[in-house]
């Protein structure tokens, strides 16, 4: 329990100022400490670790024909061989980082584009709102994968184009979410106060609105990252990815599925890695969203309990 000194300290009119604490760092940390968040972060970190460290520890070059076609796992080749007799373990270790970089870039593109569109549509209202949101509706009317395939078949399968296509296909969803959040914010008096200072609209959006959108932005980022991974891996499975000799988890599933009865590991392991990665990022995002909502809409009592816990811990 909190011990109350008999002096007036406990009844101090102004409570001791807490040290500066602000999202996103604090919220991320709080999310990571929940069981859900810890599991999500753990799963995602394992896969990221495999993808990043993998290329340096792979026992064989990923394009060397070192074993038998669909060779069974052995001491030398723990996951067996693929359809050309290459080492599956080496290809798994080598085949993740491009996927991860592409997914991250696509997410950044989607979030940046979507945020810019959504925030300005909501804050500027009028014609800008109409034009931006109708454009969003048009893009939304295509399924994401179809939209990406359309762009690729028009312009040819290039990695940057795949990344861009996936990013652009994310933007509309992000724009919608941020538009509604901004609509709510625009009516707050502190935005009006900034307008009364003669602040230009671009600056109002950047300085007053954006900092208040950190929580929805983080949630969207996590969600879009999950989708990016799935779509980019899916495109690779369909043949839109790195050209053949290069290893890629998505491509590996496609290449090796004919040998499923002979060496299932060549399909199962890359599929498992993709699955665990998406489950991990999604779970962590979910934990973050719960924490963020909790912080924003907590009943007064819960805040009190927290403060007390914090104080007694000191």
């Amino acid at each position: 329990m909190v011990t109350n000194a008999p002096t007036a300290a406990a009844a101090q009119p102004t409570p001791a100022r807490r040290p500066a604490r602000r999202p996103p760092g604090r919220l991320l940390w709080a999310a990571a400490r929940t069981p859900r968040g810890a599991i999500g972060l753990g799963l995602a970190s394992i896969i990221v670790l495999v993808a990043v460290v993998g290329p340096f520890v792979a026992p064989h070059p990923s394009d060397a024909l070192v074993t038998l076609t669909f060779g069974k796992p052995s001491a030398h080749f723990p996951l067996g061989g693929d359809f050309l007799g290459r080492d599956v373990l080496s290809r798994v270790l080598d085949g993740g980082w491009v996927l991860l970089i592409m997914a991250a870039c696509a997410t950044v593109i989607g979030i940046a584009g979507g945020a810019a569109a959504g925030v300005s549509a909501a804050y500027l209202r009028g014609i800008s709102d109409g034009i931006i949101m109708r454009a969003v509706d048009v893009i939304l009317s295509f399924p994401q994968l179809v939209f990406a395939l359309l762009l690729l078949s028009l312009l040819g399968p290039k990695l940057w184009l795949i990344t861009l296509a996936v990013g652009v296909s994310h933007a509309p969803q992000v724009a919608r979410v941020l538009r509604s959040a901004t609509l709510d914010l625009s009516e707050r008096d502190f935005i009006k106060a900034a307008e009364l200072q003669g602040m230009r609209p671009a600056k109002v959006m950047r300085k007053e609105i954006l900092p208040n959108l950190v929580s929805p932005l983080m949630v969207e980022a996590g969600l879009r990252l999950t989708y990016s991974i799935v779509i980019i891996a899916g495109l690779a499975f369909l043949g839109f990815g790195q050209p053949p000799p290069a290893p890629n988890w998505g491509t590996m599933i496609n290449e090796n599925r004919v040998g499923l009865p002979l060496n299932p590991w060549a399909v199962i392991v890359p599929a498992l890695l993709i699955a665990v990665l998406t489950i991990g990022t999604n779970t962590f995002t979910d934990a973050f969203a719960r924490v963020a909502i909790g912080v924003d809409r907590r009943p007064q009592e819960a805040v009190l309990i927290d403060n007390l816990a914090q104080e007694s811990g000191q």
Partner: protein
């Protein structure tokens, strides 16, 4: 009437609360402790205090309910001899609505928006075994005409006053023994409020219902209740008959609260209570009020005061017998008006609308230099629209607004920075007018960066200065708005406006989101600043009583037109317009003596 607590004859007492205690969690700090009182049949007990004093927690506990995270850990709520807190959940549920009922603060959120009001009233009667054909009777009791059209309406088709009457009708429908009212008239206009209060008092008297009325508005409570309990930091610090307690308060906190209530009859300096109520868990070993108390002695910090009986009421104060129970004297405000000078602000015939709805038509007013002009009116009278037009936040208006002789552009975006700097606007709600992601220092600095050409060093010096001017400590600069209390936030908002040395300050209901004690501090602060800096001030308010303490002249708005304007004394003392006369009659006044006690059924009971 003058006995304390349960002193009335035992047959008359319907509700008796003893030693009520509510804690955070199972063994956390207490939110409410040692609360005891009794209410006889037909009487109303007022439960008053600042926000956070635990009055709503007590009110809910009377229904055996707590908000999430809280738990009733001790005490009894005896209603007609049965302890509500000892009932099984099933029996308790049956008792609620039938024997105990509750009227919440906001009727629009308490009524189901998708059901017709007739259906909702019938539902209450059906669930608690009443006859459904009593619907009409129940509505007539609250002065609503039970026509079929009325019953078929949805809550949003009713006015706020009608919604609250429906809520009252539902609460009284099953003839409960106890009714708990949680600030049911907050948000209603004074005239509607008066009618609702009359209805409540009349119903309690005629049906012998015991009522507990929770409110932060002392004036409202003083006109309604026979007995008052003043709560502070979760305890009842003073309880006694309303006339004595309001007329001759003893506890320093009660004295502070009463000194903070503005009077519509006299122009007086308001004194607020500085500082903040300690939160649960930080209430210390002694008297919780000691830190804010002018009478505090050393032992106040270590010894918890037990209730003592002084001058016909029970007081929780170690010095209760030293403090004389006297009427409080307040200093009159020195009135001064500079006449003849060219007006700082002149509004001529402005007409404004929202979409197609007209909000103002042909409103004119002038603000002379060094003068505070109050703009008063009920909700919907257009007073905030007027302020927003002047500030440039509302652009859809015609007419002329000139500032220092130059016409103002419609929107803030078309005005140059110098005009924006010289006309400053303070918002109603300090909880939304400060960006939650910025520190106070950043908030003030941004204002200076946008509107002045000061260097970075000069800006931070100015920010520190101006915080001093609104009596905030320098360490506030590095805190975020959510670390500050409502009063502190409003001071920051005032500091932000003052930082750029404005010539005209527009205050839009700046105290309506604050406690009475804080309101007094803020109004007094504004009054001093206005006098020291020779500012012109437009003070928008719905509170007629407040006008007296700050303004020299007043403009009364009614449905978008000026009903009356002139010097404050003239407008408030000799109102010429029937609308102003009605407002003045209906504004709740603090009843400060036993003699003013309203006799049963005469002044208030006429509604039924």
């Amino acid at each position: 009437m003058s006995e304390i607590g349960g002193g009335a004859a035992s047959t008359g007492v319907r509700l008796k609360v003893t030693g009520l205690e509510v804690r955070l969690g199972r063994s956390g700090p207490d939110v409410v402790r040692d609360v005891s009182f009794a209410v006889p049949a037909g009487e109303v007990l007022g439960l008053v205090g600042e926000s956070g004093s635990g009055k709503t927690t007590v009110a809910l506990a009377l229904l055996g309910h707590t908000r999430r995270g809280l738990r009733i850990t001790a005490g009894q709520v005896m209603l007609d001899g049965i302890d509500l807190l000892a009932l099984s959940p099933r029996d308790l549920r049956a008792a609620r609505g039938a024997r105990v009922s509750y009227v919440p603060q906001d009727p629009s959120s308490a009524l189901n928006p998708t059901l017709r009001v007739g259906t909702q009233v019938r539902e209450v009667l059906r669930i608690h075994g009443g006859a459904e054909d009593r619907t009409a009777e129940v509505l007539r009791e609250v002065s609503l005409d039970p026509t079929p059209e009325m019953l078929r309406r949805y809550p949003h088709q009713l006015s706020g006053g009608q919604q609250q009457r429906i809520a009252l009708a539902m609460a009284f429908a099953c003839r409960p023994s106890l009714i708990v009212l949680d600030e049911p008239t907050t948000g209603l206009d004074v005239s509607t409020q008066r009618h609702v209060l009359e209805t409540i008092r009349g119903l309690c008297r005629s049906h012998g219902v015991a009522a507990v009325y929770v409110s932060h508005d002392l004036a409202v409570v003083s006109g309604l209740v026979s007995e008052v309990a003043v709560m502070y930091a979760g305890r009842v610090v003073e309880i006694g008959s309303a006339g004595r307690l309001f007329g001759e308060p003893v506890h320093p906190y009660t004295r502070g609260l009463i000194a903070a209530v503005p009077s519509s009859e006299r122009a007086e300096v308001l004194t607020g209570i500085d500082g903040q109520q300690p939160r649960p868990g930080r209430r210390g070993g002694g008297c919780s009020f000691a830190a804010r108390c002018g009478y505090a002695i050393d032992s106040c910090a270590t010894q918890v005061p037990e209730p003592v009986t002084v001058a016909g009421r029970s007081v929780r104060c170690l010095r209760a017998s030293d403090i004389p129970a006297t009427r409080l004297d307040r200093l009159p405000v020195a009135a001064g008006l500079s006449a003849g000078a060219a007006p700082v602000l002149a509004v001529r015939g402005i007409t404004a609308s929202y979409g197609g709805t007209p909000a103002l038509s042909g409103v004119s007013l002038e603000v002379p230099p060094r003068t505070c002009v109050a703009v008063v009116g009920e909700s919907g009278s257009g007073k905030t629209t007027l302020a927003r037009c002047v500030a440039g936040l509302h652009t859809n208006w015609t007419g002329e607004i000139s500032f220092q002789g130059t016409p103002l552009a419609h929107g803030a975006r078309q005005r140059d920075k110098d005009v924006l700097r010289r006309v400053q606007y303070i918002f109603q709600n300090p909880y939304t007018s400060l960006n939650p992601r910025k520190t106070v220092g950043q908030i003030i600095d941004q204002q200076l960066e946008q509107l002045t050409r000061l260097s970075r060093r000069d800006r931070s010096a100015r920010a520190a200065d101006v915080l001093g001017d609104v009596s905030l400590a320098a360490d506030v600069l590095s805190s975020y708005p959510d670390q500050l209390s409502g009063g502190e936030r409003q001071r920051v908002a005032i500091a932000r406006a003052l930082a750029v040395e404005p010539e005209l300050l527009i205050c839009d209901e700046v105290t309506s989101a604050l406690d009475v004690s804080v309101q007094a501090v803020i109004v007094e602060l504004l009054r001093q600043i206005q006098a020291e800096r020779h500012l012109a001030l437009v003070f928008i308010t719905h509170n007629l009583a407040l006008v007296r303490s700050i303004a020299q002249s007043a403009v009364v708005l009614r449905q978008g037109t000026v009903a009356e304007s002139g010097l404050v004394e003239q407008v408030l003392e000799h109102p010429a317009d029937p609308y102003t006369q009605r407002l003045m009659r209906d504004v709740p006044k603090l009843r400060q003596s036993e003699a003013e006690e309203p006799p049963a059924g005469s002044r208030w009971g006429s509604a039924i």
